[in-house]
Every structure is written in C-alpha cells, then in structure tokens.
C-alpha cells in the first residue's frame, strides 16, 4: 500500500495538473497561429496529472526505499530517532516571520522588524535572552550597514531610521 503522504501529495499534484490543463485550454490563442500560450501549460498539466496518478498508485516507490536504506546505513544511529512532533510544526516559524517582514517592515522600519524576528528565531533555537537580545541589536544593524554602505540598497526606514 502506498503511504498516506504519497497518496495525498500525488492527488494534490494530479489535481494541480488538471487545473493547469483546463486553465491553459481557456487562454486566448494568438490570431493566425496554431500554437500559442496555451500549448505549454496544457502539456505540463497533462504530465503533472499523469505523474500524480502514478505516485498515488505507488509506482517508483521502490527507488526511494533503496536510497533511504543507503542514507540510513551512512548516518549515526542517534540521527534516526525521530524528534518530538511539535518540533516539526516549529518549522513553520521562518516563513511566518518572513511574511511578518513583508507586511510590517515598511511601517515599522528594517531595524525594529529584523530585531523582533531575530529574538523570536534565536529563542526558538533555544537561546537565552543573554544571547538573543544583543544579537537582535547588533545583527540587524550590521546587515543594514552592509546593504546601505557596501551595496547601496536602502532598506525601509520606518519608525527607526538608520542613524547615519
């Protein structure tokens, strides 16, 4: 039986492929030409739908098992112990923080936004305030300095503009 994750991801890919195919087929053609902007999405969509179906059926799973066994034989036994499940959810933190940056950096400014992100991230990695607070003050400042002075990229000033 195909693992649940494969059945889910395979169905998602097949669905995406079907959507791409139908969306592509609705695109307006270029007058006077047989082939236009719809051809490529339709071809790719068909391929995706096909691959998705094959993944759901578990075709090619065998190759993965061989590779996994190879990696397992080369890694230390303690690496193979699964960390607790909540740690996997913690992985969502970095993209969430980047979205926070995209939404608030223009109003708050680069220095405060980056400082907040650094404190949250280093705490999530288990740092004590003794490390995370100085890091949150120094790192954004240095990065701002590099981008402003060396690369001449102005970063959002916001509430707390760069001092010089």
């Amino acid at each position: 039986m195909t693992p649940l994750a494969d059945r889910l991801s395979g169905s998602a890919i097949a669905f995406l492929g079907a959507c791409a195919f139908f969306y592509g087929s609705k695109l307006p053609p270029v007058p006077g030409q047989q082939v236009g902007p719809s051809a490529f999405p339709m071809v790719v969509g068909t391929g995706l739908a096909l691959c998705g179906a094959l993944i759901v059926l578990g075709v090619g799973r065998h190759f993965e098992e061989v590779a996994e066994a190879d990696v397992a034989s080369h890694s230390a036994p303690e690496d193979l112990v699964q960390p607790p499940a909540w740690r996997a959810w913690l992985a969502l933190l970095p993209p969430a923080l980047l979205m926070f940056y995209a939404l608030f950096s223009e109003t708050l400014g680069f220095l405060p936004t980056a400082a907040i992100m650094v404190v949250i991230m280093s705490t999530a990695f288990g740092a004590k305030p003794k490390l995370s607070i100085p890091l949150a003050v120094i790192a954004p400042f240095v990065i701002n300095l590099i981008f402003l002075k060396l690369l001449r990229v102005p970063l959002p000033a916001g509430l707390l503009p760069f001092p010089w």
């Binding site: 494969d6 791409a20 047989q34 094959l54 990696v71 080369h74 992985a91 993209p95 990229v153």
Partner: protein, 500 residues
Amino acid sequence: MNTIIQAFGLVFAPDVLIAIFASAIYGLVVGSLPGLSATMATALLVPVTFYLSPIAAVATIITASAMAIFSGDIPGCLLRIPGTPASAAYTDEAYAMTRKGQAETALGICLWFSALGGIAGTLSLMVLAPILAEFALSFSTYENFWLAMLGLMCATLVARSSPIKAIAAMLLGLLITCIGIDNPGGVARFTFGSTDLLGGIEPIPALVGVFALAEVMRALSEREPPKLEHRRLGSILKGQIELTRKYPKQQARGNIVGIIIGVLPGAGADMAAWVSYAMAKRFSKTPEKFGTGHPEGLIEAGASNNASLASGWVPALLFGIPGDTITAIAIGVLYMKGLNPGPTLFTEQASSMYALYIIFLLGNIIMIPLGIIMIRLASRVVGAPRSAVMPVIMIFCAVGAFATAGNNLFAVWCVAVFGLIGFVMEKNGYPVAALVLGIVMGTMVEQSFVTSLIKSDGSILPFFSRPVSIVLSSMTIAALLWPVFMWSMEKLRTRRAVAA
C-alpha cells in the same frame, strides 16, 4: 595570446582579488557549519554579486562554492556530521579515521584531493567547452528543445529518489515559469488578477526560499548537533604526496567520474561523491577495509565532488542548462551580468572565459593554505551556536531577495512561499533540485518548444527528423525509460533467484 593577457588583467584587478579572498573565507565558514549547504552559501551570495563587476561576481560564486564543498568535509571528519550534503557519502569513513587518531591525515586527504580534483575539473572545462561550443553553434530551436529536455530528464534520472516524483517536481518548476505575461502570446497566465504575478516568479527568490529558508526550517525541526571539542592536530599535508603516488588510479577515476557527473545536468557534487565512493569500494582490492577508516574511498570521493563543480559549468556556459544546483544559481548571475550563456560567449567574450578558467585554478590553489587555516580554527567556527547563525541567515534571505528583485517586497513573499514548498517537498521525497532546474529552464523550454511548433506549422515531425534531433530525442526517451528498464531487470533477477 592577447586574450589570455587580457584575461589575466581582468582577474588580477583589485576588486576581483578582494572578491575572491572574501568569498573564499565566506565559503569555508558557511560550508563548515553543519546544516548550511554549499548551494545555500551560493544562493545567499547572489544579492551581493548584484553590485559587483561581472568578473568579480562570477569569481565570488566559483570560489565560495569550491571552498564550501571542501570545508563541508571538516565537521564530517571531526563530528560525523557532514557540513554539506556532498560530504555525506564518506563522512563515516573520515570519522573512522579520526577515531583511529588520524584526524589530520583524513582532513589532509579531503583538502589535498579536493584541490587536485578541482584543478582536474577545471582542465576538463577548458578542453570540453570550446569543442562543444563549435558544435553547438549549428543548433536550431529543435535541438535546443531536445537539449533542454535531455537536461531535465537527466536531473530526474540522477535524483536519489523515485523518478516519478522527480519528474513531477521538474514539471512543477516548469508550471511555475508559466506564471506572468512573458510567454508567446503575451497574455497574462496564472496571474489571478495580481499585478505582482504579471512579471512572473523570479528564479533567485525561489532559489533562496528552496535552498536557504527551507534549510533554516529543517534546522528548527531537528536537534542541535553536538559540540566539537578542541583537538590538537599534527601536520595536515604530511603524507599526502605518498598517498597521491600510492592511489593514482582511485584519484583519476574520482576525477573522471566527478567530471562526467558534473556535466550531466542537475547532478552535482553530492551525487558525484556517492557514485565515486561506491565505485572505489566496488573496484578496491580490499573492500572489507571500507568503513573502518581506509583512505581509498575518501580520496576518490573527495576528488570527485570537487571535480564535478567545474565541469558543471560546461552545460551552463554553453546552453544555459545548469550542471548542478550551484550552476543553476550561477546562470541567473550570468544573465544578470550580461554574460548570457551560449556558444557565442566563447567567441565574443573569450577573455571573460579565460578569466573564468584562471579564477577556477586560483580558487583551487588558495584552497590549500586557507583550508589549513580553516582546519586549525575549526573548533571555534564549527561550534558557533545555531541560535545565533540561523536568525541572521533568515534576515539575509529576506533582505537579499528584496534587494535582487529591485526593492520589491513581493520577493520576500516568494521566499516565504518557496521555503514552505521546498520544506514540504523534501519531507515527502520530492527532489528540490529538479524543481529548481524546471524553474531555471522553463522559459527557455517553452520558447524553443513553441517557436519550433510555429516554424513547423504545428507538426511534430521536424522534432524527430533532423539528424542531431534524432540523437538528442532518443537519448531523452532513453533517459525516460531507463528506470523502467532497471526495475524490470531487477524483477527478472529476483524471479530467477526464486526459481533457482
């Protein structure tokens, strides 16, 4: 001769030399930190290259990637944690040598044969590229289409994963390039009314998301690696000359395999190391010694992964087809700097090409002294806490993408989304390298596909009737059917074994 002198002039300009030196240190440090790969090091460099001269920009990428591939061996040797995936294949072996008290020999092998492998790879680049360039000048859109398809198929073939999943990942990358108005009809595709999507998805933010942010995410879900205690090391280069003399065959084989795998699109240093280690064991007179701290496999695989780096540039420079994930990034930089990949690069910008060769050689030579310093300082650098390194990298992901995309916050959204995509794909066994290859090559594939079809009035016959097309198309189809063949062979063998 004149162009060669010109090339030396280009390389020995102060800004280029500073760029080489700074990126060498950067590559050594990032490569040696467990969990930060050479690809990530390169991806994070791109925003910086934006503001450098073309040669300096290419020099930073070449030097940083070569250094990172070598220094990934250091934590592998000392901690049994590969610094980059390219070191994973022989980490056990190197660590076994360290346990036997031969840490300096193991590190010396990694350094010495990395540098030699890198130089061999550079020589292959110097020889292969001009020959192929002459050949490639005669290609039309049909050949370009098949070449791109062959590249994409190779990437799925060599992925250490299910070939179906690899193809799905590659197609997903192609679909992503459909977004925007940059297509044959100039119509807005898959934009869903968003003005930001009209311009399409830029490869660089996508790469930063998939290779850098996804790594940070993975680090968060895994435990902290153990600390490295300080260790006194003897002479690092002692005995390397003898080893070079004792194992010439292993070294040559490692170099050649690395070069071949590097040229194959999508297959990079990690693949080269795995294959070479397996080959060393297969052909060794003493295979039972492997895994107990035996230098043979270490020599072959250590040379192989560095050799693959330079030869990966061959398809990248000639056709814009990345030889590995690092050159996928490099292609983006080449376009940005007006050094558009293609066979004409060798005729019109010959001095830039020679400069590139010189940088490769120079990078591999300074690797030896800088590498020794790095090994001596390893216990300080490798011990840097993740809680300090990872937040800084995350900020760099945001600001770097923002800067490359012309100060547009949409790029930051892209990094976040692609970080998520990369993380989820990796967890489910979909190779992200195939996705990236699709994203980098999508526009080119579509253009050559649609232009060819328009030229032929919608007939697919010319795709198969031109002489070079036949060869390239049959190779592509063979690459597609290879896994099926392998699978049925294995089935047949087990059935025979059961019957017997």
